[in-house]
């Protein structure tokens, strides 16, 4: 039944199983249960209870239960508002427009005045209704009770009046002395904040703003300045690109604007695009570590960092040859199948519809990328320099210079806003030492972090949900965010603080309105301010018409660029090359204290609560390193000891470690989680480079990482299906034939023995009664070709459904509570197809597929059959219901679930100080969804298809006296998926999107052959790659030949 004869695996243990692993897989529980011993009475004496003791305990137990039942019914209070705000009706949520921390538009759901959930804002042209994992998780930071609750003056809690008096006096002194006041910020694209900073600088003429991004894009900015005299990060249009070539740019995970890019990327690869055009974009990734983006690529080539620049020169040469431009004789590495020359040829064929990006922060590399894109005439179509991105503006050279100035003593005051250089600056120790030479140090941090620990003043800023926020993420796109709650603690907007210190103590709202009235609305068009403002608050966004993207030609000499890249490559080359990268979940470290993000598995390695050294299996074997061995990584005058994981797809001879871990003053969830690897970032020619030559040595220790990867073994079953785009074009059901055969079998001759042998007796013999599907029948379609595996849906689900965080130890025991997981499957690149590196190659070429896995709401659910108390049963609307108050925890259902999506509550996570994350304190509880029960110990839980949203959607339709429309009910995972990979709806409505998708030729059901009739259809993954050498003809024919030989 396999649609292809690839072998998928989830972890290397599964690919090369040891006897222990195999034994473990066969067992229901990972740990030993002493059942046999107890039954045979051979267990140690303590576990055998004499009859009298048993009776005593029984009597005591019954008595205790009886006594406990005699409790008086508690008296509950109902406390109404004294004066109810007009817009609040208890029980009904309100939505407000907001701006996420990463500067895209969101909607904030509030209940009784408390923000409880972040949703996507479909009006936002950047995110297009998507939200990433960090955006979802940020709502719990609002209720973090360990944040500063008032301003600090010289380390002691103080009042705003005292702080203001002190700061004004000190700043005036510094200003008078002529020393610099440096405002060190991250990239700010908020028009109002920038105006406030300008006002501040006006009031203190010695003040300057230095923009510092821990993960910097100054290479791109400087390259564009050099190439086209435009110092900007351009807007990339992945939705216009038919061929994407990325050199280490993780644009789906972390690079510049991942939510935006994921939406653009998916729009060229999703079901609709495939159906309409029979084609999809093609994506070739050259990279060192297996990134989220690389895992989605059609062809992925592992490259050592020292070779990446040379490969790019090779690509340039090949393109230039085709374009008739200047070439350089540099020895370039070549990969199997002459992939670079082939890529250049393809690029040339897709001139104007292709895009080359590079993740490097090296200005030379970026100039070369500009040259390639210019030769390919991509400017104006896939790259827009005129409506540039405003998301990153950091200037590495200025930061390097700032440290020098601080050391020279010319900086009199330092105001730190939104950055944490004592943690994230590569030479953090140097920076911290230099701080001592600055007389006045002020921070807007939410807590005493690594940088602000010994600052004179900490003036804590509001959480973004408490403040008026605005943003201009792209030139001409303006977003606004309203405060959704009164400030919880005695904090103050940083902008307001700056204005107060600049002797302009206006209400910040008035200030924001004024900025919009005077600078933004005039750009958008004439109108009455109040109307424009009201409309803005309703939509959250206004746009200017924008200018047409121009095409640019590249006319600089590349000689020095090429020689710089060659020299850098030589310098980086070593026995072991290290890359460090921004982590998809914790980002550059500012999300480290968010327990939801710590527990969200890394999208590729599935490791939680730690960073680690990723290394390829072959290289590790040669070094004598096994998985989980702790190694010491040394280089750049720094060393860390971290456990190793064997990462398929990691370039040979390299190791990679995620940034953002190892915080020491992030808060209780983020402190001492993993190790800080920022010091490995090298500063080359004034810019931050994320690679270095290192050495690795075993320390002899071993640490088991908390990984969700091997929890759910594939057992060699046909769970993942994929095909190639040409096979799809010939036969749209390529890859999912199994499903179509199964669908037909009931109609065909029941006595077809061959079919029965092949598919079992499905539909011919059935344990369950077929139920009529009346009324609504809820179902879901997941497009495996759109899903990037980013994990945003998991966090959205966690917050919507009050799913508990369990912590590293419990994840190690395989007890994570996530209702929705994303299974990641590896497959070896087949011989004879693109990306195959050869059998004796040191590079392990692998392909990856991500598959969201949640309760399948089977119509014939096996879990329901085995529940002794009918705590889980089926609804007439096709839901597999779970009644927590009836469940008493036999876990039979989990055992009988073919998809392993049921999670058991081993503890009372919500009221347990052992799980000190957010649910156990009164502040943290405020984020819980009041419409969903917080489960207690001893019950099973699982995805409910967001039944609370279904019920709310139905009720809304009834109240409005109308039929339910498609789209009225959106599950939490669906609502904010940046790629729109998840579609939920009523499959009995033939016009609904989901029923159309489920009738798509690509649809198949996971483990369909066991006859459980799952309610979630998956759409086959399609890869845009071809065989290098045609072996048995093409596409569909080939597929059938394979299918036959397989069956």
């Amino acid at each position: 039944m396999d649609s292809n004869n690839k072998t998928y695996w989830k972890g290397l243990e599964e690919l090369n199983p040891t006897p222990e692993f195999e034994a473990l897989q066969k067992r229901e529980f990972a740990e030993d249960l002493p059942i046999e011993e107890i039954l045979s009475g051979k267990a140690n004496d303590s576990s055998v209870m004499p009859r009298r003791d048993f009776l005593k305990s029984l009597g005591f137990g019954v008595g205790a239960v009886a006594l406990a039942a005699c409790n008086k019914t508690p008296v509950n209070k109902a406390i109404p508002y004294l004066i109810k705000p007009e817009e609040i009706t208890p029980g009904i949520p309100n939505y407000y427009t907001g701006v996420s921390k990463d500067g895209y538009g969101i909607l904030v759901k509030t209940r009784e005045g408390r923000p409880i959930k972040i949703e996507g804002n479909p009006s936002c042209p950047i995110a297009q209704g998507g939200v990433d994992a960090a955006g979802h998780a940020s709502v719990i930071d609002l209720y973090d009770s360990t944040k500063l609750q008032s301003p600090l003056l010289k380390g002691a809690a103080s009042s705003w009046e005292d702080v203001d008096a002190f700061v004004k006096e000190e700043l005036t002194k510094v200003n008078a002395s002529g020393k610099k006041i440096v405002l060190l910020t991250d990239s700010i694209n908020s028009p109002s904040t920038n105006a406030a900073i300008a006002d501040f600088i006006k009031a203190y003429p010695t003040a300057v703003q230095v923009t510092y991004d821990a993960v910097s894009y100054s290479g791109i900015i400087n390259a564009n300045k050099n190439s086209f005299d435009k110092a900007v990060v351009p807007s990339y249009k992945f939705d216009n690109a038919e061929l994407i070539v990325s050199f280490g740019a993780d644009f789906l995970g972390t690079w510049i604007s991942p939510v935006e890019f994921a939406a653009q990327y998916a729009s060229k690869r999703n079901a609709r695009h495939l159906k309409e055009t029979k084609s999809m974009s093609r994506h070739i990734q050259f990279e060192t570590e297996m990134s989220l983006t690389g895992s989605n690529a059609d062809v992925r080539i592992p490259v050592r960092p020292s070779q990446s620049g040379l490969a790019l020169i090779g690509l340039y040469n090949s393109v230039a040859k085709l374009a008739g431009a200047q070439t350089f004789s540099v020895e370039t590495p070549e990969f199997a199948g002459n992939i670079i020359a082939k890529t250049a040829k393809e690029l040339w064929e897709k001139k104007g519809k292709s895009l080359v990006v590079a993740g490097s922060n090296d200005v030379s590399v970026q100039i070369l990328v500009n040259a390639i894109n210019a030769l390919l005439t991509n400017y104006g179509s896939t790259i827009d320099l005129d409506n540039a991105s405003q998301q990153y503006k950091g200037n590495d050279a200025e930061v390097v210079e700032l440290v020098n100035e601080m050391n020279r003593g010319t900086v009199g005051a330092l105001i730190v806003y939104g950055v944490n250089p004592s943690y994230s600056y590569p030479k953090a120790a140097e920076f911290t030492a230099a701080l001592k030479k600055v007389a006045v140090k002020i921070s807007f941090a939410e807590r005493e972090d690594e940088t602000s620990k010994e600052f004179e003043v900490i003036a804590p800023d509001h959480h973004s949900l408490e403040a008026w926020t605005d943003a201009e993420p792209r030139k001409g796109v303006f977003l606004i965010g309203q405060p959704t709650i009164n400030p919880i603690y005695d904090t103050r907007a940083a902008q307001k603080s700056l204005l107060v210190w600049a002797n302009n103590p206006v209400e910040y709202l008035d200030y924001v309105k004024n900025v919009w009235n005077t600078t933004i609305f005039p750009q958008v068009g004439a109108g009455i301010f109040q109307d424009q403002w009201d409309n803005l608050l309703r939509q959250g966004v206004v746009k200017t018409a924008g200018v047409a993207a121009q095409s640019y030609t590249f006319a600089k000499d590349l000689g020095t660029v090429v020689s710089t890249i060659t020299n850098n490559s030589k310098a980086a080359a070593g026995k072991v090359e290290l890359t460090v990268f921004k982590h998809t979940n914790v980002g550059d470290g500012r999300n480290a204290n968010n327990p939801l993000l710590q527990e969200l598995p890394d999208p590729v390695s599935k490791v939680t609560w730690d960073n680690y050294v990723a290394i390829s299996e072959k290289f590790a074997k040669e070094q004598g390193i096994a998985e989980f061995d702790v190694v010491k990584v040394e280089g750049n005058g720094y060393s860390v000891e971290l456990p190793v994981i064997l990462q398929p797809g990691q370039a040979y001879g390299t190791v990679s470690i995620a940034l953002g871990y190892g915080r020491t003053a992030a808060g209780k969830a983020g402190n001492e989680v993993g190790k800080n690897v920022y010091p490995f970032v090298s500063i080359i020619n004034g810019s931050l480079q994320n690679f270095n030559a290192v050495s690795i040595n075993k320390t002899g220790d071993s640490i088991e990482l908390a990984r969700t990867q091997t929890h759910h073994s594939i057992e060699g079953r046909d769970i993942i299906r994929e095909t190639t785009v040409s096979a799809y074009a010939n036969d749209p059901s390529a890859g999912s034939h199994g499903h179509h055969d199964l669908a037909e079998i009931s109609e065909k001759d029941e006595k077809d023995q061959a079919k029965r042998d092949k598919y079992g007796n499905l539909k011919l013999l059935n344990l369950w009664e077929d139920k009529e599907k009346k009324g609504h029948h809820w179902g879901m379609a997941i497009d495996l070709n759109a899903c990037t595996g980013c994990g945003s849906c998991i966090v959205s689900c966690n917050i919507e459904n009050n799913v508990a965080v369990v912590g590293r130890d419990e994840v190690r025991r395989r007890r994570e509570m996530h209702w929705l997981r994303i299974d990641r499957y590896y497959a070896k690149v087949e011989e004879g197809t693109e990306g195959f590196m050869g059998h004796d190659s040191k590079e392990e070429a692998v392909e990856v597929i991500h598959q969201p896995m949640l309760c399948q709401h089977c119509d014939h659910a096996p879990c329901e059959t085995v529940c002794p108390v009918l705590a889980t049963m089926h609804s007439s609307e096709g839901l597999n219901q779970m009644a927590y108050n009836r469940c008493f925890g036999t876990r039979y259902c989990a055992n009988n679930c073919p998809y392993k999506v049921r999670r058991f509550n081993w503890f009372n996570y919500a009221d347990n100080d052992k799980f000190d994350y957010y649910m156990n304190n009164p502040m943290g509880k405020l984020v819980l969804n009041p419409d969903v029960v917080v489960r207690s110990r001893g019950v099973m839980e699982k995805c409910s298809f967001c039944v609370q949203r279904i019920q709310a959607g139905k009720l809304k339709a009834k109240m409005e006296n109308r039929p339910l429309k498609d789209g009225d009910v959106k599950t939490a995972c669906q609502q904010s998926c940046p790629a729109n990979a998840i579609i939920f709806g009523d499959i009995n409505d033939p016009e609904s999107e989901v029923s159309k998708l489920l009738h798509n030729e690509r649809t198949y059901y996971v483990l369909e052959s066991i006859g459980v009739q799952p309610g979630i259809g998956y759409l086959t993954a399609v890869r845009n790659k071809e065989k290098v050498v045609a072996e048995h003809g093409h596409g569909g024919h080939n597929h059938e030949a394979k299918a036959e030989s397989h069956s």
Binding site: A69, T73, V75, N76, K77, A78, I79, P80, Y81, L82, I83, K84, T89, P90, G91, I92, K774, G775, M873, S875, S876, E877, L879, Q881, M882, A883, Y884, N885, R886, D931, V932, V933, V934, S944, V947, Q948, Q951, K954, L955, A957, K958, M959, N961, R962, P963, L964, D989
Partner: protein, 452 residues
Amino acid sequence: MSKNSNVFLKTCLKKGVLILTIAFLSVAQAFAADPKEGETLFKANCTACHAVGKRVTGPDLKNVDQRHDEAWLVKWVHDSQAMVKGGDAAAVKVFGEFSQQVMPSFANLSEDNVKSILAYIKQEGEALDKKAAAAPAGGATAADSGTSSYTIFGLLGLVVVLFLVIVVLNRVIKTLEQLVLTRKAEGSISETEEEEEAVPSKFVQTIKILASNKKVIALSIVAVLVVGSAWSWKEMWEVGVTQNYQPAQPIKFSHKVHAGVNQINCQYCHSGAWKSKNASIPSANVCMNCHNQINEYKGEALVDADGEKIDGTAEIQKIYQALDYDPATQKYGTSQRPIEWVRIHNLPDFAYFNHSQHVKVAEESIRAAKGLKAEDPVCYACHGEVAKMDEVYQASQLTMQWCVDCHRSTEMKHAPKNHYYDGMVELHEKIKKGEKVTVAQMGGLECAKCHY
């Protein structure tokens, strides 16, 4: 005891006042100004903003005839704004004092009408003065402390009586003991004689025979067991069932007065019930919509569940306390504290109940199922006749069985009219045929309808 005497005194006083008023009325009738007519006019036109004896929205009208002359007052009533604009010093002063609130013009009132009103005001003012003069003599101040002393005295009395009983019983015991001792000493009764004397009666004999019969014993044990288990079974089902729960509330709010006597619609206060899952307890500002005017209770006497009398006016004051509101100046202070009502209807956390689904969507079906009268609100279906309750209690069981029973029997009467059900052809056909379609048949018994 003191309470009774108070009541008696108060009745006397009231009667006295009444007699005096009647006497006064008969005298006053001779004038053109008719206080009786004035009373009607006053209640129809003036009470929205004025009262005699206290300041409401407008000034206290007591002794208004002494503050201004009659002609001025007539002019003022007819068009106060003209006087203010005309610069009349007294008019400007009053206008300023009452935060420039415009008194509407009553041009429709004739001069005689105004005079009648003034006569009524004067009469009321005098009646108030007399009442005030009588009050200290009547010892009305004692009324407040009634309840607590009553209980204490009662308890003390009980203690004394019990003590006396103990003393008397002790005495009796001692006397009897002594009697026995003296008789024993005398040897007049031997113990054997005593036994012989006690000849068992027939009844006792039968009992003894029955008690020695094993079958009877077995049968009795079985009977006791059966009755006992039946009883405990019934009792156990009711563990945690809080039907008829009627806690004392921080404000002795009477639904009877509001929803019954004054016919205020349930939605006026419980506005959430029609649009949200929560019926919502009204916030104090909703109370103030009426109670910024109505600051004393003048209706029928109220008693609480224990038969204690309730001072309605004092209860209204509690709203003011919560809001830190000063009725005299009509200003809100800053030390506001929410009112902590005791929740009567408690559903467990794992049960989701939505008022709007029942009250708005399914109103017709519920009315039919519960046989509610057309004039009764649908709320009665579960909350009982709230408009007849002074203190609300939990009228229904609120158990799952209670919910489910209703879902089993209630027909989907509302479905044909609500377009939500348009696509459900089968449902419509059944209803057309006159078949019974219950909530349960529509999935109303499925767990995830209420538990998620």
